[in-house]
């Protein structure tokens, strides 16, 4: 137990450290409270026609609707926390080449607090568009909003709605899919929203070969999850049966080496089940899926006969009821291999034992 004496000694030691830290801490020159600062900024930026002229002659709006802040997660921040370097009046003059550069500069504002997510965006397909100098490239505020900044995943469907503002066609397809219907119609919390597959900040180019080859493990994150699949009566063997088959093995070995990013390599989950238009493949819908299978196979194997699709056991492990022929052959070797190899091994052991015995 710590005695009174040692507590006093510890406090005596800590007080000068704390005083020293406080004395050297940077102090704000700008001496307004949060609310005072907001009022001050809005006295100019609350005017609708406030704008600045960019180097290319275009006008960049500088108007800010004060009410937007009310629901913002950032409502207790100072304006200058994000709009740094503007705490002097009048502001030091700034120059932006064009709208793209003007907008990109907002991303820099988020960086100082959200550096981890900012760093992730540098690897994203969105950043690539931004780096090209595209004025409409998605920056932080494009997805998150600026002053009205809310929680991006509340409710969950909001994520997909955010993406839908630009990706309209994909979103229209998605909402009709088995995942989208459950999200929109039932507020299902298990189905993937855009970011569950595409990630949020480090969004990869979906035509990238490495990313496409990772789709089995991506789908497997949920579809091989026993607890989650049990709720919907879905089999978790989908991943293992896929990987054990020709297509899956090929994919797990990195497919066919040097192929272009947009080239079709080997049937991945999405090649049969679709991407944004994934439909149910169980229950009543299964028949339709099965009937269309030969069409699906012919996407890659144009000469496939009507028999060909049944070469694929539809993610089922062979059993006496499903693919009995395959099951029996499997069973046959399960017995034969230990019998033959064990028998020969026994003979080798006996042979050696006798030879050793004879020499004695």
């Amino acid at each position: 137990m710590m005695g009174l004496c040692s507590t006093i000694r510890l406090v005596a030691l800590l007080v000068p450290v704390w005083v020293a830290l406080a004395a050297f801490a940077p102090t704000r020159v700008w001496a307004f409270s949060v609310q005072e600062e907001k009022d001050k900024c809005l006295s100019c930026h609350g005017q609708e026609n406030l704008s600045m002229t960019l180097d290319d002659g275009q006008a960049a709006p500088l108007f800010m609707k004060g009410e937007l802040l009310a629901g913002s997660v950032h409502k207790n921040l100072r304006c200058t926390d994000c709009h740094s370097g503007l705490d002097q009046l009048p502001h030091k003059p700034r120059h932006y080449q064009d709208l793209a550069q003007f907008r990109a500069s907002f991303g820099e504002a988020c960086k100082s607090c959200h550096s981890d997510n900012y760093a992730k965006t540098l690897d994203s397909v969105h950043y690539r568009v931004q780096a090209r100098g595209d004025a409409f490239a998605p920056t932080c505020v494009r997805c998150h909003g600026s002053h009205e900044m809310g929680r991006p995943a509340e409710p969950r469907a909001r994520i997909s709605q955010t993406c839908a503002t630009c990706h309209v066609a994909v979103s229209d397809t998605y909402v009709k899919s088995v995942h989208g219907k459950a999200l929109v119609g039932e507020n299902n919390q298990d189905v993937p929203v855009c970011t569950d597959c595409h990630r949020s900040h480090n969004i990869a180019d979906p035509s990238n070969l490495g990313w496409r080859l990772a789709t089995p493990s991506l789908c497997g994150k949920c579809h091989a999850d026993e607890k989650r699949m049990k709720k919907y009566g879905l089999s978790t063997a989908v991943l293992s049966t896929y990987l054990a088959d020709f297509h899956g093995t090929t994919a797990s070995f990195g497919a066919h080496g040097k192929k272009k990013d947009d080239e079709r390599v080997v049937a991945l989950c999405v090649d049969c089940h679709g991407i944004h238009d994934i439909a149910k493949a169980t229950g009543a819908d299964a028949t339709m899926f099965r009937e269309n299978l030969v069409t699906t196979c012919r996407k890659c194997h144009p000469d496939a006969s009507e028999n060909f699709p049944s070469a694929w056991l539809s993610h089922y492990e062979p059993s006496l009821t499903r693919a009995p022929f395959v099951y029996l052959i499997k069973l046959f070797y399960k017995v034969l291999i230990p019998f033959i190899v064990g028998g020969l091994l026994l003979q080798v052991v006996l042979h050696l034992r006798r030879s050793v015995g004879k020499k004695r």
């Binding site: 020709f246 693919a323 499997k330």
Partner: protein, 238 residues
Amino acid sequence: MSEQGDVVRFNRRERIEHVLVMILFVVLVATGMPQKFHEAGIAKTIVEALGGISQVRYFHRMAGVFFAALTLMHLTAIVLPVLTRRSTLAMVPRPKDFRDAVLTIRYYLGKVRERPQYDHFDYKEKFEYWGIVFGSFIMICTGFVLLLPLLATKFLPGQVIPAAKVAHGNEGLMAMLVVIVWHLFNVHLAPEVFPMSRTIFTGKISRERMRHEHGIEYARQFPEEASDAPTDPDAKKP
């Protein structure tokens, strides 16, 4: 043992066949097992070392087609001389082989004093040979089904493809294990031949080894030297 004392056991065709089968077998196992055990870490290492899965499959298929051709040539070379009565079917199992197997095991167990005497091919050699023949038949048939699944399903039900895959992988695994456990023991580690029997490469066997391992054939070829060697009970009396 002098060169003069050696007896020719395998002709040139047979020796070349063995070397080719040996090479093809190693290639087929090395490129086939990583496909069967694809989850294993070492499978990834091997596949990468060989230049990717496409390359591995290409090697495997090429070796498989060569193996099929070699098997066909072997059968032709065996069947034709038999049909024209220039050769006998020394490899065909006879009742004596089954008795030999039992007797040999009884000998290993110490139940009988002497090991039975064997003819030109002993029961172990016959077992291995026919194992390879039947195994090859399965491997070649299933291999072609897997090589040409679209063609196969034009005539056969689709389930044949996964069935062929299961059979091909397991038969291959069994062949590999039999070669490791049985063949490599019999030609390398067995005390009679340790460290290695060179007969299949030189084609020659010493008279001493022949007398020991193929006593019946020895007695037939050199009757004056082996007057008291046991004779083959199944041999037809003159």
